[in-house]
């Protein structure tokens, strides 16, 4: 899956405040290991409620940041957890992780881009 991220939508959401968006991305990746661990752990422990909760939060954050594919993968994990479909969740989590890993450098480099980047 190609790493696709559209910063324009995210910038529009924060009313063009790039510094804020950079900060939000930093907050997300600072918290991400915790949520990622929660995904793995809750799946291993069969705690689907916790899995659903973690996926829900990830979906919310990613959709805010304009990472649509990440958000939709997180939504699929959330739904799988809701449907008690552990097998589906087990398949989705690596995909999700791979997506985040691929998109992280792109998102983290926003601060280095000129100010009008993606805001046209």
């Amino acid at each position: 899956m190609p790493a696709v991220w559209d910063p324009a939508a995210a910038l529009e959401r924060v009313a063009g405040d790039k510094a804020l968006l950079v900060e939000l991305i930093a907050i997300f990746f600072e918290d991400y290991p915790r949520y990622h661990a929660a995904l793995q752990q809750s799946l291993e422990q069969g705690d689907l409620a916790a899995l659903q909760k973690a996926a829900h939060t990830l979906k919310g954050s990613l959709s805010y940041l304009g990472a649509k594919e990440g958000a939709s993968l997180a939504l699929k994990i959330e739904q799988a957890a809701l449907e008690s479909n552990a097998a589906s969740a087990r398949e989705l989590i690596p995909q999700f992780t791979a997506y985040i890993d691929s998109i992280k450098p792109l998102m983290m480099s926003l601060s280095e881009e000129p100010d009008d980047a993606g805001n046209h």
Partner: protein
């Protein structure tokens, strides 16, 4: 009801509340959204308090009670947003809380459930900054409107129960309070003293110095009587130049001493008005009803009136008592 109103100065529409923004309480467990909300609202001048779950939100409202503009996330650990809404709406408060619910769910069913739980508005995540701020401004507008209505209500309540010249209870409110005092004395088996205070030769003040001077005298006499009574005594303007005070749990002797202090408090210093310095005295009729037999308010007033009549007849600037035992 009436007794809870402070007989002080009339409340004025609170200017401070209409010019500054209401503080906002954000309850959100996702750190990213917390930061977004805090940043956007703070940048617009809102004072923002942030909590991470529903219990803390309820506690913040119950304990601090300062935030009336609430932004609640639907999905939080512990209490969900709609549960917090329901809980807040069950509490009766004169000060309305405006609640904006944040939700990732945008089905009709969910939106209806959120609004039915008591939310005033909802915003679907991921929301746009402009839309968030516009919706918060709607809440701010509603709260200002409510503040204004409460201020008007308070002003009207004050005006309806107070004498505009002296700031004391007016005749209507006074009688309601006097009835309550009589009932309380009967219930508790305690004594009740009633004082009728009448300014001597008040008509002469108006005739000689004009009505503004007469008003100033009424105002000053009321002020001096007010500081002399105990906080829990009832004092009001009976009409014209006559005032009524009701004081519980004084025996006849103490009531006479109290009346004497009231009288001396007026005569000891002439009243300075814009037009003249005027020597003013009062005559006081006092009646003390013991616990038994129970007296009606009507009987108490009649008895105090008879005492006042005697004080006038016996030379004014004096206290006369009738026993009501």
């Amino acid at each position: 009801m009436l007794a809870t109103i402070e007989p002080s100065s009339a409340p004025v529409a609170d200017a401070a509340q209409t010019t500054s923004l209401h503080p906002v309480l954000v309850a959100e467990d996702d750190p990213l959204y917390r930061r977004v909300l805090q940043h956007l609202l703070t940048a617009k001048g809102y004072d923002v308090a942030v909590v991470t779950d529903g219990e803390q939100a309820l506690q913040n409202v119950a304990v601090a009670g300062t935030s009336r503009l609430l932004i609640l996330d639907w999905m939080m650990p512990g209490l969900l947003g709609p549960e917090v809404c329901r809980n807040l709406r069950e509490r009766s408060s004169e000060h309305y809380q405006y609640i904006l619910l944040l939700t990732a769910r945008n089905t009709t069913e969910d939106i209806v459930a959120g609004l039915e739980a008591g939310a005033d508005d909802y915003l679907v995540k991921p929301f746009n900054a402009h839309e968030l701020l516009a919706r918060v401004r709607v809440g701010e507008r509603m709260l200002r409107l409510q503040d204004h209505l409460l201020a008007v209500k308070e002003t009207l309540r004050f005006q309806a129960t107070h004498d505009p010249l002296t700031g004391l209870w007016n005749r209507g409110a006074l009688f309601e309070l006097l009835h309550a005092e009589v009932e309380r004395a009967a219930r508790k088996g305690s004594s009740l003293s009633l004082f009728l205070v009448d300014i001597d030769h008040f008509k002469r003040v108006n005739d000689e110095y004009g009505h503004p001077a007469g008003d100033a005298v009424l105002h000053e006499v009321a002020a001096r009587l007010s500081v002399a009574v105990r906080p829990y005594d009832v004092i009001g303007r009976y009409g014209g130049e006559e005032f009524v005070i009701a004081a519980a749990e004084l025996d006849s002797e103490a009531a006479c001493g109290f009346a004497e202090r009231l009288r001396a408090g007026i005569s000891f210093l002439p009243i300075s008005t814009a037009d003249a310095v005027i020597e003013v005295t009062v005559s006081i009729g006092v009646t003390t009803a013991q616990a038994s037999p129970i007296w009606s308010l009507h009987q108490l007033i009649q008895s105090a009136d008879a005492a006042l009549y005697r004080a006038k007849k016996n030379g004014r600037n004096r206290v006369e008592a009738t026993s009501a035992q």
